[in-house]
Amino acid sequence: MSSRYLIRLASAALALVALTLAAPAADMPDPAADAKAFRNFFVTKFPKVKLEDFVNGPYSMNEDMRRQWEEKEQFPPYEFSLDMGKEMFAKPFRNGKTYADCFPNQGIGIRQDYPYFDTKEGKVITLELALNRCREANGEPAFSYVKDEMAALTAYMAFTSRGRPFDIKIPDDPRALEAYQNGKRYFYTRRGQLNFSCATCHVQNPGERMRAEILAPALGILNAMPIYRSEWGGMGTISRRFTTCNSQIRGVPLEPQAEEYRDLEYYLSYVSNGLPIAGPGSRP
């Protein structure tokens, strides 16, 4: 019997640790109070970082990296994706309609309003989902949520919304509150063999190195999406970021745009309300 098995079994025991913790009493979700506490946590933990600078992720908390980023921003690597998105956005579908026909304000300057809770359908609609629905409604096949086309479209839509603060609303509908709460639960739930939650990295350890990467703070983490990652050598959507995060902690990712992921995006965007859209971004 190899020692490899012993080690892997031992790591499985990590999951048992959670048992030792007592759970606090369940109480009614209060998104406004959550958002305030969330922001307060990061502002207190990083007193030198300006609020609007959290959207720049690891660059807001590491000087040497910030200089490399500023150098890259002179001619950013997402430039080609942005151009591709702009061109795609303007190009009519075979039926003559365009993406602009599917969105408020012709799709310009609206990134900060996504995701929203659709009270008719009773579910969270992300920008990525809305884009594919737009395509399908016009007889075009859906794009992969994790590939370049979706990244390019969302890059362009984010770009036209730069500087606008996230303005995510939770309508007076118990299902909306439930979606918010589901997203929050997903964010804090430990998963994968490493027994990490999203919060383990992005709340407890932002600014620290996890292996070779400097972890981004959860506050404002979606504002710069989609991102060009040097590690990927290309662009990635929010869907790509969520699924790769899950695999990195050795959890099997859910399907892109699964309800859990949409709810997670809803929660994370809501608690970053007021912080400016900065996408597309670039990251190591």
Partner: protein, 103 residues
């Protein structure tokens, strides 16, 4: 998306600052793909900048220049509205050329 070359060239009247970003894989020949097969080298070898009939800057690149390469330099002269011609050729013989106006 006609061109692989993005240019920003701005003149102060005395000096023209030029930045380019080029869409190119710049494969080094040292990286394996998902199947474990080596991706053959594919990189830009030469990049030239021509203004007013002469080369103002020539880059000789190896495979260690980053994907979607970037370079910045400055030259004396060059006025707003002047043409700047930029061309590259890679190790497979592919090329692209663009002419940008100095801003």
């Amino acid at each position: 998306m006609a061109s692989t070359i993005r240019v920003r060239a701005t003149s102060t009247g005395e000096v023209t600052e030029v930045q380019v970003l080029i869409q190119h894989p710049m494969d080094s020949g040292f990286v394996k793909d998902a199947k474990g097969e080596t991706i053959p080298p594919h990189f830009i070898r030469e990049l030239t900048f021509e203004h007013d009939g002469r080369n103002v800057f020539v880059a000789d690149w190896g495979a260690a220049v980053s994907k979607d390469p970037y370079v910045k330099f400055s030259f004396k002269g060059g006025n707003k509205g002047d043409d700047l011609k930029i061309s590259w050729i890679d190790n497979k013989g592919e090329t692209d050329t663009t002419t940008a106006k100095i801003q």
